[in-house]
Symmetry: C2
Subunit: 407 residues, 2 copies
């Protein structure tokens, strides 16, 4: 799902590298029709869904006109709209669904996949962050396995294989792993790692969207610069691994070589390391519990030379604390945090607000939500507060702008 | 076994920290009778063996005269000599034997323990290095589990828990772990880490026995300075994990925080980290496959700040290459290497030879052994080449000394 995005294209690269292991049976994408058409030609899925129904004819045209390089090609079934996404998510012949749709848009199709009993390679953070209280019970009912496809949670998941966690069967059961003391999520520190708080006043979009280590989408790169990315991962880890917030730490590790760590009850620490490359965690979701043989470049620590670590500066990264607070609040609050962040980042990327306004707007919105807070939100509640938070962010940004222009 | 040594005292500290988990039922020691008497009073084992029989009356006197601090105290059975060590090693009420005797002296009692079906917390490297070809078949017969108690192999063992190695039941089966690509043993670089090759000419005993990170016995600290320690660990890893020598790497890591790493077939690297403290690997042997809760200080990477890595300089550390060569040769050669090293280090600590003579003497001895090399040595062969190698080292050191004085 989200085949033309960062996770999607890398997943398809893996499918290409391991043709005897994996077959792509279904795809969804947004508006990048030329790339989607190419992907369809190459992987020949059974079904494809595109979010906007009226783009279907255009896609069909593209499939007719582009060359298929001599391969026999059978045009897949092409459907559209939200129902289309849900149909693909629960497509019968799929064993595992890679959810690479960024943001809250990925939530409903992921829920469809879970309800259909599919295992999930979870790259869409929002599924757990916004809707943890809704998703967790569904996982119990369907028996779906949530496998983390992002680098940090994959690292934790890989390290946990060495603990007797299997006794509790699966992730996201809410039962803490026996012997697991806590985890440390590593953070590159993002684009502004070496900027002072004062210098952040001058941060531009270009500055915020240049990530030092990882090549990712714009939204996630900004989240990485605010450290909201890590804050959201903290909430995700809480739901995935059944951990209390005080068991989840963040450490700045600029080289992004240690992808995260677990601490066990006897003080032993296990870490997963590798070059910064999303393909490995995606592949592990697909091959788990086995590991496939890849020709990928071995990690060479002598070549890296040094790994450094420091505590994150909470003053510089207020989003991190906002995420911990929302997480501890629980219930509907993380959904508000997540939607507020998505909207604030969109406004920033649209040059409507300044980089430093992002945490201010989110804090304002979370604060405002307290009076309507729901401890046990339904799916509708989650979707409603999501819309509400976006509206509040836009209103508040507009109001501020008017204030500014009046000054 | 070896209760008054470095491993022994730390094992007893663990027994004290976890009185409801562990009971010390038997002990062996060498000549440190005052400490042994104290340990006996505290742990009240059923049986004690001391290597030299004629020290038994002295120990009994000590046990009578020292205060037992108001505790009721029943004097254990006390036996002596080599048979005594073997009796304790196979003592009926023991579940696991911690083999903390340094050097080839630990080999026979460890074999007794294996034959009696005891699980082994293996701190005595020589068991596998000198007698791998003898010990491995015995493990298969008795079903004993070899658990590595040294920091590096424990790290590998801990990381391997996360791989599907259980299918092959146990370590030291000679069957490689599926999905295990290779391992990297970390080396602090020892006392001469930051010395140039030229400066090594001036190395004294005091220099060689000051280890930067670990508090260990003198012999092992010198081995750490020559990197023979790491070379021997490479051979041990070969037997423990069923790895080919080309799958075993060494990386200099001065901070000794990453205790070793495994690389899996998909290029993922798992590492075990912790403060440099032997208690953790010893405890893991005793608690495996569980982990106990300890109050030990958590690793804090922000406090450590940086971890550095570099390739070992083979010119500076010729012992490392000697070990790889002997390991690849296999059969009786590692026994010769190990005995030659023990004897050369003893001569160095006795001020009979210079630090830089250690590798030269070992190389000379290994070269000389080639004509009597045994591919499948018996236990007697191992013990014989051990004695032979020691004799050659002493002879050659004497001859050289005469040469030097004639110059």
């Amino acid at each position: 799902m989200g085949s033309t995005g960062s996770i999607g294209t890398q997943t398809l690269q893996i499918a290409e590298e391991f043709p005897s292991q994996f077959k792509v049976v279904a795809m969804t994408a947004g508006r990048n029709l030329p790339l989607l058409a190419e992907q369809i030609k190459k992987h020949q899925p059974e079904i494809v869904a595109i979010s906007e129904e009226d783009l279907i004819p255009k896609l069909k045209d593209l499939l007719k006109t582009t060359s298929n390089k001599g391969n026999s090609f059978k045009c897949p079934q092409i459907i559209g709209g939200k129902d289309g996404l849900n149909t693909v998510a629960s497509w019968n012949s799929a064993d595992i669904v890679v959810t690479g749709i960024v943001g809250c848009a990925g939530l409903l199709p992921t829920l469809s996949a879970i309800k259909a009993g599919k295992d999930i390679a979870l790259a869409n953070k929002e599924t757990l962050i916004a809707a943890g209280p809704v998703v967790l019970p569904e996982l119990k009912i369907s028996g779906s396995q949530l496998l983390p496809a992002d680098s940090e949670h994959s690292a934790i998941f890989q390290c946990l294989q060495g603990t007797p966690w299997e006794e509790n069967a699966r992730l996201s059961t809410g039962i803490p792993t026996p012997g697991l003391q806590g985890i440390q999520l590593t953070a590159s520190g993002g684009a502004f790692r070496d900027w002072s708080i004062e210098e952040l006043q001058k941060a531009t979009i270009k500055d915020a969207t240049s990530h030092p280590n990882w090549s990712m989408g714009k939204k996630i790169t900004v989240d990485s610069a605010t450290l909201m990315n890590k804050g959201l991962e903290v909430i995700e880890a809480h739901y995935l691994f059944g951990l209390d917030y005080k068991q989840i730490g963040i450490v700045i590790h600029p080289q992004s070589i240690i992808h995260s760590m677990i601490e066990l009850s006897d003080s032993s620490v296990l870490a997963q390391l590798g070059w910064p490359d999303m393909k490995l965690p995606i592949l592990y979701c697909l091959s788990w519990p086995k590991r496939l043989k890849t020709p990928w470049k071995s990690l060479n620590l002598s070549e890296v030379g040094e790994l450094t670590f420091r505590e994150p500066n909470t003053k510089k990264y207020p989003c991190m604390e906002l995420a911990y607070s929302a997480g501890k609040e629980g219930g509907s609050m993380p959904a508000v945090l997540n939607a507020a962040n998505e909207e604030a980042v969109a406004l920033f990327l649209d040059e409507k607000i300044h980089f430093l306004d992002i945490p201010k707007l989110i804090e304002f919105t979370c604060e405002k939500h307290k009076k309507d807070f729901k401890e046990f939100p339904s799916l509708d509640d989650v979707l409603n507060v999501d819309q509400w938070a976006r509206k509040i962010i836009r209103q508040e940004a507009d109001r501020k702008k008017i204030n500014f222009s009046q000054e």
